[in-house]
Symmetry: C2
Subunit: 340 residues, 2 copies
């Protein structure tokens, strides 16, 4: 018998339907061809193929926009939003629009074309996590931007066109809807209970264990109770913080380990599935709003990882109602049992 | 330069980015293989392969669950929700769930395996539209169900597994999130302006013309101002009604013509793209809520058609922020110019 489960934060109902009988072998085949390295703009030695670097971590005595880097960040050559200009809001009859001001950056995670994220060593992954923080801190100084989203597409089914390991960052002049819903849900819970809803979730998952995939001193990685997708995983810091940029050195160490190990479990258990990853931290510029004081108590940053194993159908688009054939408890048990 | 546009009903921001330079030829290739008719459960003569029919329109003197039908409706053999049992809501610690009570039905749109929806004659399409109404009216009598969603997946990229032309219906014990957001947005507008927001949109699109694809006496079909997807089309009745089941004979004639012609434009202009279609009517059982009185003024039923031409990436999942490379004005002009 299927079940309906409600996401406690945003109120989305999900159908958990194990009777569909989908097993890992029934899922979409990964199509992760390695793209041609000879014209890869992300490779070491090809720095001239990209816009000039905004940030890099590199060997001493090497030059900007030349080889010798470990992590390299530059503007997307085909940005969805553009950095130059003032933000102009306007009405078109009853409709609202603004010009496409924002930032859209590429974070290249390794100079080596053929190195997958799951094969990077831990110190390299830590550098990626510090680069996320550094770019967020820098872009926050620009008060046109209300939100900075960091995300990663791996594999063709997840929308990646270049196989060389990279993340993306987009800074937007509005708070994206999915984040706004989390902020609103978290505030509602806080106003009622005077507790952070994410901290409540961590406490329950830590004590129930059945949806936990792995935990360490600073992080918990679990399958959400109302997961929309099979093998969806959420990673949350145990200590309350709304803001990714407050991350400590010890937390970066533990997050790097958790991220690598979760992505390895997915890679080995599901044969290299395509996935999307998104980092939800708090919005920018909250000092201008009265909400900052409470948000620091009610919101809690986290990472969402969604393997792309099923096609999204008209039911999902039409209703916001998802059917997940893999109960999160089964997904967590499967991922826990993968040998690393 | 890209633009940010806000959906006036649900408040979703969309990036309209024509500089990405995507042309119809850059989109996903349709993979619309015709599935094998010899074991197609939707074919005439194969009625024994499905659960017993719930509704059919058929020739006089033909028998239930035998050939002779034009439209045939039965329960999905692998339903996401089950019709039997009482609805039990329960808490699991801080989480909420209920058993998977609901209905999940298949509406076979033609007895002929190889007949695509766009090739059906108008009287057949009208029968489909009446079947939608009849099933909604019947399922509304069951007060466990709060919402009835009718949707259609065409093509592999849209999640269809069987090519024989069909729609699906799902009746759910909760109001799906996407519909709840439309209801809330429409009510907010009504409370402020004392006008239906959908009627306002129709008035603006009818006078501006640039996003209109086609209109007739009873329906307007246009590309929404903040379309999430390239070539997305919305069909709305001109006359205000929150409830699809109030549709009149004249409206069914005009809706059938509009639907066929819009789907033909997409089929010819974009080479048979996969698409999802969803019908949003008002929730059931509203007499039990105080909202019914106003909802009959503030909500407005409509059909959303989404061609599946792009992969959804981590940005979309992570933020609810969509990038649409085709301005709705260009999409509408392209579709208007297709010869039928």
């Amino acid at each position: 018998m299927s079940e309906l489960r409600r996401d406690p934060i945003v109120g989305r109902w999900v159908i958990i339907d194990p009777e569909r009988g989908k097993r890992p072998k029934d899922f979409l085949q990964a199509e992760n061809q390695v793209t041609d390295p000879s014209n890869c703009p992300f490779c070491e030695g090809h720095e001239h193929m990209t816009p000039s670097e905004i940030l890099s971590y590199r060997s001493p005595n090497t030059q900007r926009d030349k080889p010798g880097w470990w992590i390299r960040v530059f503007a997307n050559r085909f940005p969805a939003l553009h950095i130059e200009g003032d933000l102009r809001r306007q009405g078109v009859g009853m409709f609202d629009m603004m010009n496409g001001i924002g930032a859209h950056e590429i974070i290249v995670e390794t100079p080596e074309h053929n190195k997958a994220f799951v094969d990077l060593n831990e110190s390299q992954i830590e550098k990626i996590l510090w680069a996320y923080r550094d770019r967020m801190l820098d872009l926050r100084k620009d008060d046109r931007f209300r939100y900075i989203l960091i995300f990663k597409n791996f594999g063709k089914n997840a929308g990646a066109n270049i196989s060389h390991s990279h993340s993306q960052l987009i800074a937007t002049p509005v708070i994206p809807k999915a984040v706004r819903e989390e902020l609103d849900g978290a505030k509602f819970h806080y106003n009622y209970k005077e507790r952070c809803i994410y901290c409540d979730i961590i406490r329950q998952e830590t004590s129930m264990k059945e949806r936990m995939v792995e935990e360490n001193d600073h992080f918990a990685a679990f399958a959400p109770f109302a997961a929309r997708f099979p093998f969806e995983v959420c990673i949350m810091p145990r200590e309350h913080s709304c803001d990714y940029t407050t991350i400590t050195k010890e937390q970066v160490l533990d997050l790097g380990k958790t991220l690598k190990s979760i992505l390895r479990r997915l890679d080995r258990g599901l044969e290299g599935p395509a996935y999307n990853l998104a980092l939800h931290s708090c919005p920018n510029n909250l000092t201008k709003e009265t909400t900052w004081d409470t948000m620091s108590f009610d919101f809690h940053w986290h990472i969402e990882i969604i393997p792309r194993l099923l096609k999204v159908t008209g039911l999902e688009w039409g209703s916001g109602f998802y059917i997940n054939p893999t109960p999160p408890e089964d997904a967590a048990a499967f991922l826990r049992d993968i040998e690393l």
